[in-house]
């Protein structure tokens, strides 16, 4: 089976800028995999998502070299709007993801499927199913702007789920959420992952990345500086210095636990008992 996302020698720079924001990225994401993308500011994490969605070239008109295929299709051979049938992308700010044209939560979720030309009965079915998946069925009739930030981000996710994407690109989806909103969103994503959806998630909450993701890619200055299972990546000193590490890892390192340092809560408990 073709990978969900394949990047080979990808270099990208925004128009009228000299430095490459992505500078030789080679990356393969298997179908059904949950990949966490971590790194400091200006590492190129968001641009990685934009490039995978096709927005980097189509929307920003940047210069892209190398090869990107998404679900088996070269991104140059398919427009973003066509790709939206199979790939969903969630941005940082929940407010700017609301269409602004709908007065009810359920109508907002219906926006995408309607754009795809689905019949009203099918749209209604998908709206119901998506709202249930993100736990917003109880507020279906409310105005989107009456929701909290966390609920709004879950609404944005439900709006993508209603289009039945095979892959989700998430650009710091919890950056503007409180702890409860963050926990709820990760809960929904975990459920989706178990259902087979491929997830590529840029995230600064490293504890969650270590707990949830199958693999982690650490980036700095447009390059991949570490890739692999969370334990391996977050135990790399270069990654820790550049992208940081989960709190358990930092704690273990500080109190003098010998490497490999734990990256999750359970591993930390085991390490501290040992």
């Amino acid at each position: 089976m073709t990978p969900a996302l394949l990047m080979e020698g990808v270099r990208f720079r925004y128009p009228e800028t000299t430095p490459y924001v992505l500078d030789g990225i080679d990356l393969t994401v298997a179908r059904g995999e949950w990949l966490g993308v971590v790194g400091p500011t200006n590492a190129g994490k968001s641009t990685l998502c934009y490039a995978a969605m096709g927005l980097a070239t189509e929307f920003f008109n940047g210069a892209l070299t190398g090869r990107i295929t998404v679900l088996g299709t070269d991104i140059r051979k398919e427009k973003v709007i066509e790709r939206s049938r199979r790939v969903g992308m969630l941005f940082q700010n929940p407010f700017t993801q609301i269409s602004g044209a709908r007065e009810r939560v359920d109508e907002e979720v219906a926006f995408g499927p309607e754009n795809h030309g689905l019949a009203p009965e099918l749209v209604a079915e998908r709206v119901k199913e998506s709202l249930e998946r993100v736990g917003l069925s109880g507020v279906a009739e409310r105005h989107p702007l009456d929701l909290s930030g966390g609920q709004l981000q879950r609404l944005a996710l439900a709006s993508l789920l209603a289009m039945h994407p095979q892959m989700l690109l998430l650009d710091e989806p919890t950056s503007q959420l409180d702890p409860v909103g963050t926990r709820d969103l990760f809960g929904v994503l975990n459920h989706l992952h178990q259902g087979g959806v491929t997830i590529v998630m840029v995230e600064q909450k490293l504890d969650a990345v270590a707990e949830l993701c199958d693999r982690v890619v650490a980036m700095a200055a447009g390059r991949v500086i570490g890739i692999g299972q969370p334990e391996a990546v977050f135990n790399d000193i270069a990654v820790q210095d550049s992208a940081g590490a989960p709190s358990y890892t930092r704690l273990a390192r500080t109190v003098g636990v010998k490497p490999p340092w734990p990256v999750t809560f359970d591993a930390a408990v085991r390490a501290l008992h040992a």
Binding site: I81, T96, D146
Partner: protein
């Protein structure tokens, strides 16, 4: 977060249930007739009909504060200006020292005020009883591009969000010592440091929203099913044509000497 500029009032009246085109016809024809009919009794008669319709739709109570807050000052201003200074003034109504209030000017002022009343009440009748989404959908069902439909609907929600963002930036700048009160010149100068962050944040928000719309398939060239069923009927269509016919009839009557 503000919900939007829409002033739609939930209701179940026949006007609420009527097709947006029918309500649009009532509004447009009322506005046109208010400026075509020749004399005050006709304009006042039209105002009475519009008030009756507002009452029938159970939105009269919402209209009263608008009438008092907006229309009353306009009416008083027109009566004073025309009553004192209309060039056709001849017959003194009240003498106030060196100034006199004239009958002719008062009539002109009253006619102008009544016409404005008709215009405002007809517009609010439409706005109170029609969801912006229904209006946009009705236009799209008759061939309007979904992009234009989106602009109509989103503007009502996005403009208040932008205004709130402007307020947040102003408060942030005030917290850093920016003086936004005082003489006009100082206030004008104070708005310069507000503009750059406002424009930049608006551009970023617009860009993000455009991308978010794109990834939700907005603009895909597919057959799009009608989202909302907007019941129409032969009677409503007949009413719309009858209303539309009133405009050329009134114009013709004016040319034929209707005074």
């Amino acid at each position: 977060m503000p919900r939007g500029l829409s002033i739609y009032a939930e209701g179940t009246s026949a006007l609420h249930r009527a097709h947006p085109f029918t309500k649009g016809a009532i509004t447009l024809v009322s506005v046109a007739l208010a400026f075509i009919v020749p004399s005050l009794p006709w304009v006042l008669g039209l105002a009475a009909i519009l008030l009756a319709l507002l009452a029938w739709a159970r939105v009269l109570a919402r209209f009263v504060p608008i009438a008092v807050g907006i229309l009353l000052p306009i009416t008083l201003l027109l009566l004073i200006v025309q009553g004192f200074a209309n060039p056709a003034n001849r017959t003194v109504l009240i003498a106030l020292g060196p100034f006199s209030l004239y009958v002719e000017g008062m009539r002109v002022g009253l006619l102008a005020a009544a016409r404005i009343f008709d215009l405002v009440s007809a517009t609010f009748l439409f706005s109170f009883t029609t969801r912006p989404a229904d209006f946009a959908e009705s236009l799209m069902q008759h061939g309007l591009s979904p992009r234009f439909g989106y602009i109509i609907q989103s503007a009502l929600q996005i403009i208040p969000q932008s205004l709130e963002q402007a307020d947040r930036i102003r408060e942030a700048q005030q917290a850093r010592g920016l003086e936004t009160t005082g003489p006009l010149l100082r206030r004008a100068r104070a708005y310069i440091p507000l503009l750059l962050p406002l424009v930049l944040s608006s551009l970023v928000a617009t860009q993000e929203r455009a991308m978010a719309l794109e990834v939700r398939g907005f603009g895909l060239p597919v057959h799009r099913y009608s989202r909302i069923v907007l019941p129409d009927s032969g009677a409503q269509r007949l009413l719309r044509w009858a209303l539309a016919a009133l405009v050329p009839i009134a114009i013709a009557a004016r040319f034929l000497g209707w005074r």
